[in-house]
Symmetry: C2
Subunit: 160 residues, 2 copies
DNA sequence: TATTGTTATACTCTATAACTATA
DNA sequence: TATAGTTATAGAGTATAACAATA
């Protein structure tokens, strides 16, 4: 299989700032590279807009997960979001201090704590989810509704 | 707009380990969430397989970029791969110490250094690119060739 | 004055080991 | 013996400020 590889060194006169003329043909044919670039693009816009709610990506994910699954334990949240248990502790503590969720002892398992949104947490999450839904549409404005649906389906086929 | 949100708390008897039965319907409708999950899935397999070449994702990206664009300056590489200049320094130094690339003074700009793969670097990159291409196909085995092509096209529409 | 490459540094994110209390 | 939550800590990744050499 022949390698497509330019032999001519790049213009010796203009180092320049732009990305124009740089050959990234190999990386562009890889799903991983493109998925990462697309994810970072959307996450960048997420961070800009969600700063108003003082929510990072993982914090929003936890809140949204608990909004739809009240009483989930830390272990459940970790499994669903691929978070290491030690890293969830500080996160939950911070959200608890902000009055957005609370830990309640599990009724039948003395080791476990159920996580529940407070009314404030519910309200904020409702707003935040709407903001995220809008932000996602804006961040993927180059896609038609149909393309967006197809993209999500194909991405899920990759990791499911 | 009604919120779909379960009101019934989760089973009080089985905290469990699995992810079964957890409702992640909201997150699953977001492109950003799915793109990140898919990227992490592929990157995980990348790290496993490319450990044989002692190459991390960013290191491979730099090598592949230089293979197709000999003489690129640090500034170019940073712009093309969204790396902060201070973070590229150690990376290039390490690859140089491994004998995979070398810095040559730019012929017309005394500040700049052109980056070039050594013959060893070229050889390793050729092997690594083949390994990555295979790994990508394996990591996206649930997709047909046509779906894979569509996925890449849609991802590029998002961030281009 | 602006830019390239660099150093030093700080901040964030993620990962590992070990402890406690319960099961 | 195993598991849930936690603590402390280490490591990787990413970001900013400032400097020397050159444009």
């Amino acid at each position: 299989m022949p390698r497509l590889r330019s032999t001519k060194p790049r213009s010796a006169t203009t180092p320049g700032t732009d990305t124009e003329g740089i050959d990234i043909s190999f990386l562009r044919t890889q799903v991983g590279y493109n998925a990462r670039r697309a994810a970072l693009h959307i996450i960048g816009i997420f961070m800009e807009r969600m700063a108003a709610y003082e929510l990072k990506v993982v914090e929003f994910s936890v809140l949204s997960l608990l909004a739809h699954n009240p009483g989930l334990t830390s272990r459940h949240v970790c499994a669903a979001l691929s978070i290491m248990p030690p890293n969830l502790v500080g996160l939950v503590t911070a959200l608890e201090k902000r009055g957005l969720l609370e830990r309640r002892p599990h009724p039948s398992d003395g080791r476990a704590m159920g996580l529940y949104l407070t009314p404030d947490g519910e309200a904020l999450t409702t707003e935040a989810e709407q903001a995220v839904a809008q932000l996602e549409v804006d961040a993927t404005a180059n896609l038609t509704a149909s393309e967006r649906k197809t993209l999500i389906r194909l991405l899920q086929k990759v990791y499911d």
